[in-house]
Symmetry: C3
Subunit: 359 residues, 3 copies
């Protein structure tokens, strides 16, 4: 009887890691010497822009993320601490990623998921809301459709805020997740550059109007001697003038090409993102560029995507070795755990090295 | 002064159990010998259909629920574990019941209460959402208006999912709550059948289009030698053909009658549910059938209702001994605690018997 | 490079208390002798009206609040307890204040933030919802646009409910937060009155239609020998007849004036609130009265406001010593911690004095 049950219900869930297991983070962890100093200097800082991160901070953050991904945490370093997630622009993916990170560190969460129910909708100023948050929580995570909101809040906050996407401006923790995936793939990037061949990173997207790319490129500037960036977009006008100037001042080699086909087989990393969300609406910014299993990728090229995806990234790639975007999404929790540990001054509770008391 | 305060504010809240106290679950607990084996085999299983439960699993689950209802839990077996409640079709009652169960076991919760704020609303596939959930939580509870959604998610999930209502198809944990109420009332049903008179269970509703009834009937098949089911509906066409065939193959005695009055005085149990919700709308499926204190019930008949109720179940019955629907609702938390304990492989932490390590 | 980062991002967040630090609550704490008896009598009580509080309860509640504000809590007195916040009328500020208080005491929270997703929207009765809450949580906090809803719930609840705003009727915990601010400013009010000059409290608002003021005035009646209340409103008809009668029976000196200018320089405390919210809409009830740094306040006068504010309270006052409204908002968390500790019978776990076991 009842033999019409699908097989998937007849056995335990396969929890074997669909995103390549522990090998990658272990390899990264082993290749970086622990140095908590760069992490300690993040204590009680707002995190609004990827410009705030140094190369050493990025490297030690991914190291701590790799430690979280490969070990079990037997303490609750954020026990008794409260996170406020204020998503005035809705996003389940990013919200859950932060909340999961905070819960895994042992803390409690209060969520605001609907801007229409808040005082802001009734005309309350962001400064007054910041005053309120300072009284009720220990850290705020904010997503808002306006570039300026997070900056306005910093004027009044007495607790750190993390920018989880401000209009088309920045999304620095997504950039950290991107860096974590990139460095797991190529831990050698963490070493002192020694004249090895540059890694070619193709970016299919519009950096001028995509916050994920804006922040990612700012992180990449710290690796400018080891990489080369090629932006691919049918619309040539995809780097803003000031953005291009800032990136070039940093020494980053960056160029723009209009067609994917000729450049694709030369790329080591393909970062693709077609959709720019602004509030409730979105625009598709990469023409009809698509990647699928039939695309002429280098055999060992990896694909990154901040997700959620549209038609630009075909599911036929999911089962290929090019798929690093699922690992990238998975790593987002661990890198956020790492950052939140630093901001809340709990680094000394989770690292091995005996270190001086913080503050 | 201020003597116009209502009396209810002048004294402590009466917390004496309005749903008959500890006697019923203790009686059930005493009547079942503990056997954790059937529970261990639920470890890390998706729970999508009531077809998945064996008779022994149902009996041991209600036993564990009764243990939870009658004792105080001094450990937090799910400490550090994260539940994701994804209610794409809104339901406060079922959501809070799951979240309360998870919290009582010591775990943390992340809620999605509005489908419009999610990536799914933006066209993200359920498979990609499942991939995300696998990274961020330990168990998912899903309610969705589409029958197929929960099945689509199982294709990609690496963590267990519990179906909390999928369209008009099934609602297996409501069925467990129903069984818990039924077996508290008649623990003898847990014993080997010995030719006692069959219990007559009347079901006022439309099993073909009500997920609660579909799942409840599947559970009842395991007690087919001890019960008889009479479906009562003015519309004779309330059992789907394949449904009737499946139930009859199991040996369940089931019939359909169109009028309540003649059969009501013969029923030991009356399960009533008039409304079928589908997404935001509902339909009333039992004509003008109503139960009230004036109804010609057997003196010791009990009434079950999955709640929320409409006019079909009059509040005049609330203070009568027929009211088992409040106990049924209360028990829903404990039976969900029992099921979640099994799925998360924590049975050995809460049971007395020394047992072999799980996995 | 990147030297265009705002200064606020280059340094740790200034967490020095923008609301005057520990001095004020310490002063209050030192001036009140601990007496837990009045607190014990709040155990397991619904809190619906400010009429329920005695003078001694208010004084001991603010003492406990001051203890919470000035100390670190090393235990989790509400560990394992579940709060249900049911905000059928949306309010982020009040909801987060309660949830923060509960989390700081170590408990878990389940939130309902959208009335449209609940059974009530589908026609479920408040009594049935109350029955559900009794099964799933340990305390309920309710905000609802209807005055009667909280009273209807008390008919069926087996767990305590706290009224967080019922229509235009009352908001008793806001009144406690107001009293906490007032008594921090003037701890002498807690002593036996000894003929000192009366403190003049000006209230800019409409007590007949503002729940915050209705509850605040009820609390003030317990200090009627030490204070004098002047309601300021261009509309003379701002005290309801029964309200005025009740307040006068208590001995409270209360009068109404129509113009602010003449009375303002005589006030020791100015409580201002212009907006009355009812559900999704609001009305402005104090004409064009505004306070700003240019207002002719007594040099040491303090301003209270329940927030969120509108144009009636200019931000130019924020940096003046008149600003006690931010301290008032901050204190709201601690006074709610105090009240919730009492309701849940956990006073003995957090106080120093050895006391008899509760219940």
């Amino acid at each position: 009887m009842f033999n019409d049950l699908p097989d998937v219900l007849k056995q335990p869930v396969d929890s074997s890691d669909g995103v390549a297991g522990m090998e990658r983070p272990r390899k990264l962890l082993d290749s970086i010497a622990e140095d908590v100093t760069p992490l300690l200097s993040l204590a009680r800082h707002h995190i609004v822009s990827a410009r705030q991160f140094t190369r050493e901070q990025i490297i030690q953050l991914v190291r701590l993320a790799a430690a979280y991904e490969t070990s079990r945490l037997y303490i609750k370093p954020l026990s008794g601490k409260i996170l406020i997630t204020a998503f005035y622009e809705p996003s389940t993916r990013t919200r859950l990623s932060f909340e999961s990170a905070w819960h895994r560190l042992g803390g409690d969460v209060m969520s605001i998921t609907d801007a229409n129910t808040t005082g802001i909708a009734k005309g309350e100023s962001l400064q007054d809301v910041a005053e309120m948050f300072s009284n009720y929580g220990d850290v705020v995570v904010l997503r808002d459709s306006e570039d300026e909101s997070v900056y306005k809040m910093t004027e009044r906050l007495r607790i750190p805020i993390v920018n989880a996407g401000n209009g088309i401006d920045e999304h620095p923790t997504q950039a950290l997740a991107d860096m974590y995936a990139l460095l797991k793939w190529k831990p050698e990037l963490c070493c002192t550059p020694e004249g090895a061949e540059r890694i070619r990173i193709g970016i299919i997207g519009a950096p001028s109007r995509m916050r994920t790319l804006r922040s990612f490129l700012l992180c990449l500037t710290h690796f400018s001697e080891q990489i080369e960036v090629i932006v691919i977009n049918p619309d040539k006008d995809v780097l803003a003038a000031d953005q291009a100037a800032e990136l070039q001042r940093s020494g980053l080699q960056i160029s723009v090409v209009s067609a994917l086909q000729s450049v694709l087989p030369t790329l080591d990393v393909v970062y693709i993102n077609s959709i720019a969300w602004v509030g409730e609406s979105y625009e598709r910014l990469t023409g009809d560029i698509k990647l699928g299993s039939e695309s002429r990728l280098k055999p060992d090229a990896i694909i990154l995507h901040p997700l959620a995806r549209g038609v630009e990234l075909d599911t036929s790639l999911d089962i290929t070795a090019h798929n690093w975007y699922f690992a990238q999404a998975r790593g987002a929790v661990f890198i956020r755990m790492a950052l939140l540990t630093c901001i809340t001054q709990r680094v000394s509770r989770v690292t091995d090295a005996p270190i001086a008391p913080v503050r």
